[in-house]
Amino acid sequence: MEMNSVFEGLKIMLLGMGTVFAFLIVMIVMMNIMSKIIHRFFPEPNDVENNVTPVQKNNAKKIAAITAAIIHHRSK
């Protein structure tokens, strides 16, 4: 039992750090692959819509209102 438990501790350390790093390295590789795929095939359609549509809608409404006002003004 003398040297045993320190050796056990060292073995756990090797296994533990090895597993943590293996896990995170695979995770990093997967993250890079994932972001490449997503940017290639799903290039932010929702973001574009979300950010632009309200502005566009508002603009469209404003344009309609202004146009209507101009037409109304001219038709006088």
């Binding site: 438990s5 756990i12 296994l15 790093f21 995770m27 997967m30 994932m34 997503i38 929702n46």
Partner: protein, 445 residues
């Protein structure tokens, strides 16, 4: 009325000087034992002096001055006289110190306050609140003995976590891995010291449970401690949360000692935008990895990613809100009280506690150093440079450690904002600690 008070005082004096109450104490204890087993007993009329003496025998003053020789602790084991009498007083004073730290110093009050108050209640003599039938004992058995509460806390933490910074700079996850060296390095140190010196004597399981403090992740520490060394839970939880609160004091000296001024001023490029789909896929991806590599870590990682997935899905706002607020608050109250029940004098006032506090601090410091050194190693390779100050955020302690990285960076360059860059290693540290915990579970079963 006056005469009753006088009689009572006189009786107190008599019982102090002669221990005359011992006989009564025994009688009262028999009655207590009888009443707890619900044995039918007819009530015998007593004289006023008998009644008063009997009442005095059940006061806390008497319990502290003349500890009951037959009293057992929450595990049904005999205790030393010190742990039954003055040890309790010492522990109650310790909980007062924790109150002070939580309220005046602002050390993690959300957990330290319930823990400290639980400790105060657990050290009350006679009432046995932390015993199997006391309400603290019930809370402990309800969610700590079966590791339920830490898991629910993990769900809430997952719902609060934003993986955006990590996704925009994935390689910083390595810093969160390096910081876990604090756990395993301390494990080896604790085992070696137990083996070759007489300072303390921890088994491999106990050493593992103590060194997990280096992960700087409260729920993980509690989860592992209840699994591997429940007898050390109180000290481990208190050490874990105290050091998390002390992050702004412990980390900066280590960070400054290991870096040069030029390194501390490294500017990092702004983070790229992360799409919503990436954030949605990420929790499922990490959980899939955990399933393939280390199923033992899936209780923690699964709960964590469940919370995060609910948040990122964007369609269950109510559930996300409950996880982040109501549920995590409720469970925090119970978790704190349950951990506090382990602050009973007979479990906390032992030499081991001091060793745990010291080893925990070492684990924490080594983790911080390992993260910083890892960043320096990464800078030896070609590619974009990493500011080593964000390495220290690899210990979990979200978001405190990231704030510390930011603060130290600002000291050397007012315009250097490291907060978001440090959040990457910070959340990776949570995943790293969960993996480290999974390794321990897989080894010790």
């Amino acid at each position: 009325m006056k005469s009753i008070v006088l009689k009572f005082l006189a009786l107190m004096v008599v019982s102090f000087s002669l221990h005359a109450s011992d006989a009564h104490v025994a009688a009262v204890d028999e009655e207590r034992a009888a009443s707890s087993t619900h044995k039918e007993e007819t009530y015998q009329p007593k004289s006023l002096s008998e009644m008063t003496a009997g009442f005095f025998a059940s006061t806390g003053i008497n319990a502290i001055l003349n500890p009951d020789p037959n009293e057992v602790n929450a595990h049904g084991e005999a205790m030393s006289d010190f742990h039954k009498s003055w040890g309790r007083v010492v522990m109650i004073l310790v909980t007062f110190l924790l109150f002070y730290l939580a309220i005046a110093k602002g050390y993690e009050p959300l957990l330290l306050l319930p823990i400290a108050f639980g400790g105060l209640l657990a050290n009350i003599p006679v009432a046995n609140i932390a015993g199997p039938h006391g309400f603290l004992g019930v809370i402990y058995n309800m969610g700590l003995a079966n590791e339920m509460f830490p898991i629910i806390i993990f769900m809430g933490v997952g719902a609060m976590t934003d993986f955006g910074p990590l996704l925009s700079n994935p390689k910083t996850a390595l810093l969160g891995g390096a910081a876990q060296f604090g756990i395993f390095g301390t494990l080896v140190g604790a085992v070696a010291l137990s083996q070759y010196t007489d300072v303390f004597d921890f088994t491999l399981q106990q050493a593992s449970a103590i060194s997990i403090i280096g992960g700087a992740d409260g729920p993980t520490s509690i989860f592992i401690a209840t699994k591997l060394a429940p007898e050390l839970l109180g000290a481990i939880a208190v050490a874990s949360y105290s050091y998390m609160a002390l992050v702004p004091i412990i980390q900066p000296p280590i960070m400054k000692a290991l870096t040069t001024k030029a390194e501390r001023q490294i500017k990092m490029s702004t983070l790229r935008h992360v799409s919503r789909l990436e954030k949605l896929v990420f929790p499922i991806m990490v959980l899939s990895l955990a399933i393939l590599i280390l199923p033992d870590s899936t209780p923690l990682i699964g709960a964590f990613m469940f919370g995060n997935f609910l948040k990122e899905s964007g369609v269950v706002e109510r559930l996300n809100d409950t996880l982040q607020n109501a549920l995590i608050n409720i469970v925090t109250i119970f978790l704190g009280l349950g951990v506090g029940s382990k602050l009973a004098a007979d479990q906390f006032l032992v030499v081991d506690t001091l060793a745990i506090l010291i080893l925990g601090l070492i684990a924490f410091s080594v983790g911080t150093a390992a993260g910083v050194i890892m960043a320096k190693i990464m800078n030896l390779f070609p590619g974009t440079k990493v500011n080593p100050l964000i390495g220290s955020a690899g210990v979990s302690a979200v978001p405190m450690a990231a704030r510390v990285s930011n603060k130290v960076g600002m000291e050397y360059d007012r315009s250097n904002m490291l907060l978001m860059h440090a959040m990457g290693p910070n959340v990776a540290g949570v995943i790293g600690s969960a993996v480290a915990a999974g390794v321990m579970i897989s080894i010790f079963g």
